[in-house]
């Protein structure tokens, strides 16, 4: 999301106290663990009410989800539904569930405003299912705000894959 749009969305709370890289790393390690452990409702609670979850198409990693077709472009409502579906028993692509293991590194603060901070981190998400091993490699570009309790929350979770195609992965059926 371009900077000017972020400024228009009312802050959950100001970024006070200021964010440090240590706090961001703690947050990224925590949310990765929640996803790997399939504690998806706890993870969803880290997404702000105006939060979005975006995965650009692999041929257009820098594109805008309002004008280009993405692989995933969830608003909070769709993301909440995604979580409910994944925790249900009719999401055949994830039933039985994949095992995943996320390696999240190289966290950096890209940009900091009064009420939000844009951070990036590299990821390699290993996924094991049906005797197959797939590795999803890319980087997160997350816009974080402070939630009502003072902890960090996602205003935008963008997972930009470095893969050229989803071959042989075939699908992005768990949350990246």
């Amino acid at each position: 999301m371009p900077t000017q749009d972020l400024a228009r969305v009312a802050p959950v709370r100001s970024l006070d106290p200021a964010v440090t890289r240590g706090e961001i790393e703690e947050f990224l390690i925590h949310e990765a663990a929640l996803l790997d452990e399939w504690r998806l409702e706890e993870w969803l609670a880290l997404v702000a009410e105006d939060g979005q979850y975006l995965v650009p198409s692999l041929d257009s990693p820098a594109s805008d989800h309002r004008t280009a077709l993405f692989l995933i472009s969830d608003d909070r409502r769709n993301l909440a539904s995604r979580v409910r579906q994944l925790l249900g028993r009719a999401t055949w692509a994830e039933f039985p569930r994949s095992r995943t293991r996320r390696l999240v590194t190289n966290a950096r603060i890209l940009e900091q405003a009064d009420d939000w901070v844009k951070v990036t981190a590299n990821f390699a998400v290993w996924r094991f299912q049906h005797d197959a091993t797939d590795c999803y490699v890319g980087r997160y570009i997350n816009v974080l705000v402070r939630g009502p309790g003072g902890g960090l929350m996602f205003r935008e979770r963008r997972a930009v894959l470095d893969l050229e195609t989803l071959r042989p992965h075939g699908k992005v059926s768990f949350i990246l």
Partner: protein
């Protein structure tokens, strides 16, 4: 190896209403070899859309029918599909995925070509003998290329019938897929390139299978739609009771249902009503109803599917008997508002593609079939007989799949003339 002479993969007993496919057809490497030669090299294959190479100098590279090709727009604005291999020593002339250029230069020995493939430059050309014919050393076009209303098809069979004749009765429905917005359409930026560890013919079946929708896509109907405040019965009910499966001849086929409430018809009702009014003005009420009053999954033999609910174009090609590459795009009206486009994309993504709420379950289902086929010696047959005794099979039946399989079977046996793909061949009905 000749076309299949002795082996039979299909049991098609129209009198008793039995239709079975031997699962070896999904697993045997020899079958794939024959398919490459007798099916994919003798049909029209979708290669891309004119909007993807919009201006002189535009190019993009893809694999079509197993060959690397370059789609170009030459200096005069004319599209070409060139084999992406240097006539000199074979290197891929173009290693980029897409771009814009005045010339294409093979980096190996720096031969260069214009965007129609004509040879422009050969370094140190004086070393060649008079027998070296510059005019014959350009890049080679695919044997046949035709553009149907912006959709570029190619064939590796120089003697194939014209594209319009090939499309036959499917052409009318392809027109509806293009005309739905009342204006020009274009491929939206952002391709979905994925794969399935499954035989390609499983995706042919799945792409026009009304029967699987409520079970495989249970979570879409019973979780997602209620989550966005929609009643799933309104969506799925019409499909169950009123849809039909249609054999369009030539292996082409379709499922068709009356238009029904979808996430898009509720999020963009006013815009869609305005488009409908424009369609009536442009085409008259009857044709406007045929365009906009139905949803269709249209299959163009052998590997192209268009789905009107999401306006997607999807094609696929096998690399192995148990593995295919899939490419899908959105084909949307060119000039409509960013807001409506975004609603169309949201609707598309909620169901389709590797991150949607439906396609991943198809991927898992088809991959599950393929893994199940390891039992093919004990369980040799898949049953595709639903609705065979019916006068008018529904979209929950399997006539549309039988239509595909009958054409496939004819080509695999080297029978290239017209194939009767119907459950009730017309001449037999006349005799009865």
């Amino acid at each position: 190896m000749e076309a299949m002479e002795r082996r039979e993969f299909i049991v098609d007993d129209r009198d008793r209403g039995v239709f079975r496919v031997n699962r070896e057809a999904f697993t045997d490497p020899e079958v794939l070899e024959i398919e490459r030669r007798e099916v994919f090299d003798r049909t029209w294959l979708y290669a891309g859309h004119i909007s993807e190479i919009p201006t002189p100098g535009s190019f993009l590279t893809r694999r079509i029918g197993g060959r690397p090709v370059i789609l170009t727009c030459d200096a005069a604005g004319k599209p070409h599909v060139l084999l992406n291999s240097c006539p000199h020593r074979g290197n891929l002339v173009c290693h980029e995925k897409s771009g814009s250029a005045r010339a294409l230069t093979c980096f190996y020995h720096a031969w260069s070509f214009d965007l129609s493939g004509k040879l422009l430059g050969v370094p140190d050309a004086e070393a060649y003998t008079p027998a070296f014919d510059r005019s014959a050393m350009g890049m080679t076009s695919v044997p046949r290329m035709e553009n149907y209303r912006g959709m570029i098809f190619i064939s590796y069979d120089a003697n194939i019938e014209s594209l319009e004749s090939y499309l036959g009765r499917a052409r009318e429905y392809l027109d509806y897929m293009i005309d739905f917005g009342g204006e020009e359409v274009e491929i939206v930026q952002g391709a979905q390139s994925y794969s399935m560890k499954a035989n390609w013919k499983l995706l042919v079946e799945n792409s026009m299978d009304g029967y699987h929708a409520l079970s495989t896509h249970n979570r879409y109907f019973h979780q997602y739609l209620p989550d966005i405040g929609m009643d799933p019965t309104a969506w799925a009910g019409a499909n169950r009771t009123m849809g039909r499966g249609v054999n369009l001849g030539g292996g082409h086929a379709m499922v068709e249902s009356p238009q029904r409430p979808t996430p898009l018809t509720s999020s963009a009702k006013a815009e869609l009503d305005a488009i409908r009014a424009r369609l009536v003005e442009k085409h008259g009420p009857d044709r406007a109803h045929r365009i906009a009053g139905f949803t269709r999954n249209l299959f163009i033999f052998p590997n192209l599917i268009l789905i009107s609910l999401w306006h997607t174009v999807r094609t696929f090609y096998p690399l192995r008997p148990d593995y295919m590459e899939v490419d899908a795009w959105a084909l949307f009206p060119k000039h409509e508002s960013q807001d409506l486009r975004r609603k169309r994309m949201d609707n598309f993504l909620s169901f389709l593609g590797p991150g949607g709420f439906a396609t991943p379950d198809d991927v898992s289902g088809l991959e599950g079939c393929q893994r199940g086929f390891a039992t093919r010696h004990e369980l040799p047959w898949s049953d595709i007989s639903r609705g065979m005794g019916r006068e008018e099979p529904s979209s929950q039946d399997e006539l549309q799949m039988r239509a595909f399989w009958r054409r496939w079977d004819a080509l695999m046996h080297g029978r290239r003339g017209p194939t009767d793909c119907a459950d009730r061949p017309e001449r037999r009905m006349a005799a009865e």
